[in-house]
Symmetry: C2
Subunit: 449 residues, 2 copies
Amino acid sequence: MEKLLKDVLERVTPSKEEIDALNKFTKSVLRTANDVGIEATVQGSIAKGTWVSGTHDVDVFISFKEDVSRSKLEKDGISFGKKIIKKLGGKPELVYAEHPYIRSTIKEFTLDIVPCYKMKSASKIKSAVDRTPFHTEYILKNFSGTQANEVRLLKRFMQGIGVYGAKEKVRGFSGYLCELLILEYGTFLNLLSSSSKWKLGQSIDNEDFGTARNFDDSLIVIDPTDKNRNVAAALDKDKYEIFINACRDFRKKHRIEFFFPNEVESLSKDRLKKDLSKRGHLVIMEFKPPKVVEDILYSQLRKSAHTIVSSMKRAHFPVLGYSYASGELSHILIDLETEFLPKKQKVDGPPTDVDQKFQDEFAKKHKKRKTWISGGRWHVEIDRIHISPESLLNEIIKSPIDYGIGKYVAESLSKECKILASAEILDSDSEELGKFITSYLSKKKPWEW
Amino acid sequence: MEKLLKDVLERVTPSKEEIDALNKFTKSVLRTANDVGIEATVQGSIAKGTWVSGTHDVDVFISFKEDVSRSKLEKDGISFGKKIIKKLGGKPELVYAEHPYIRSTIKEFTLDIVPCYKMKSASKIKSAVDRTPFHTEYILKNFSGTQANEVRLLKRFMQGIGVYGAKEKVRGFSGYLCELLILEYGTFLNLLSSSSKWKLGQSIDNEDFGTARNFDDSLIVIDPTDKNRNVAAALDKDKYEIFINACRDFRKKHRIEFFFPNEVESLSKDRLKKDLSKRGHLVIMEFKPPKVVEDILYSQLRKSAHTIVSSMKRAHFPVLGYSYASGELSHILIDLETEFLPKKQKVDGPPTDVDQKFQDEFAKKHKKRKTWISGGRWHVEIDRIHISPESLLNEIIKSPIDYGIGKYVAESLSKECKILASAEILDSDSEELGKFITSYLSKKKPWEW
């Protein structure tokens, strides 16, 4: 185990050259900000010294006084950002978030220039990013000795098992959450030994605020800079459980793959054909991803998948599971137990003990059909609208907004969407599609490849 | 309406010849009982004068003193019964009920000689039949004028719509229940106008005992001879609702078919073929009915159908409905939305927030398979045992007792059971099968043929 962690640490700790290059870059950014007349600070994992080797994301916050209006902050934030980037020789790019901000790729770095308010207390912040400086300050003040390395181990472990990052694509553990966990448990191994016993609703309250009971999330980690905030509020329940189970599994098998998983090996065509023949019906929507930031893309993909599954279930298609992913193309996969439903559909009407009015309405609505009572309920047989999932999907593609699909995904679907069933899936030579289906069908955990 | 009821009444009121023949017969039975030295009384609808023309069932009770033991009552009941039947020139036949009794067909009559205890109060009876004399007495004492005719209308109406009779085949309204309803509402039409507004849990308490609140049945009719008994306790909920709805329907359409429904017209082969093609999968078990009394046969058929449907559902077959009937042959029909299920089966495991012990057990049980977390639950994919309902039915037929099928039906199934799906159903020339399927598929109410 010691050897394993040492190996991992060697790979995640930035080298002297890496640190020097980064320091040189951040200094030049701060100097440039000063030159254009705005107060700037480095934030995030780089400021806290908890960044993992290979990280090239640099967050620089430019701060405005509390009495500046929101619109002025946004306007000036963008214009200062542009000025700084241009002086550094980069090409500014506008990114939409709660406040829009400027991003640029300069050398190997992705630099974000984020405007924020300079506040006295984290509990009175005006927008989400205003907290960040408080988080940086808290971690810098409380971290000791080698705890940054423990955070690196934890981040790499979480990345390996697929639960690292607060972004929509993952809905996992944020960097700050990792830092607070190490602060609470001291070391990566101590955390693992504790977390393998965690239950739903586990709470951590570094500053003993006693406010954990106000939250009803899977994991509750009270923000030491704001007692009324759960740092783990956006953590997906499944990701929380996957973390706990990975911890339990890792303690039994000390394998490097928990930190550095192998690539997914796509199933061969023969194997895929055999697997599909044993299943009901797999159908995949394939379309060009809308050109929006990743968070919005994944948020809309997730909601689209949910709404499609709900529509399928409402139309009585037996959905077993679903998945979605986006790379060159976006894919939404629906896994069904059967392909076709019969033309006739049995519809449950009102129970026979509800107000007669509702029973009469049902009878009136279906007066040309035969209604009958069975099991304390009215029933009627109607002609089914969609006898195949493809038929329903085609209708969703025709009017995605009506089905609750998000705006950007809806626009993409309206342009073009292919529906792939077994034959088309087996015909495709896309490596991306192959890996996506393999991940779904194999049910292998990332560390099991 | 008046004309209609008059017509019905003409058909249900026994003629003078019919009454004379019956009186002559019952007198001879009572005389014979007296000759062999046992006290006998006529009971049931004949005693109460509420019998419908064409009734040939004569119930004669022979009564024993309270201090006679059960076994002696049974032994002597049978031997007296046999003696009476033989003297009348009939062939005695043993019928199994709570106490066995003797039955015989003599001329056009079916005569039951039922042993019972002669009790002082109906609330202290030793077996169910002991109540009957109290019921007869109560009705004779309280009925006035033409109420017997009102009962005849009601019985015929209930027979027409398929809810008359307490026997297992119907689980509907008993004759005594009909009489109490007329006692409460005065006339058939008054009852109809009230019952079309009945709700679940409607209560009637002729003697104002105030005990209705102790019951939780669809309809509560307190027995005037025993305040702790609901006369409608065995009434099937669906039959209760069908009665209410037939009342509502009849008040709109005054049609003779409510009393004397037309025969079910079997669907033509072409029509049946077309109908079946629009449905998922219909499968029928066909076997020789066990040689037991009708009540036991129908009780076992009903429970068999239930247990088969439960097994189907547990095996994830989407059951839409079922039906059973028995004539020359017994049939149990299962109506499914789809025919085949895929070879792979997704199984839901424990939720991720239950005690770790249960999660470990699940992991251990499926250690050679891939388990995964989704939606707060463990899942695993296994090889399905039965991919068609026929496969499961064949297993049930092989070991019916293990599946909870009643003894007598189980014996019949073990001897021979055919499984009929679309092809076999369309091949069959059985009129009985044709009507059975037609009734199920058409969803027509008896008065709609």
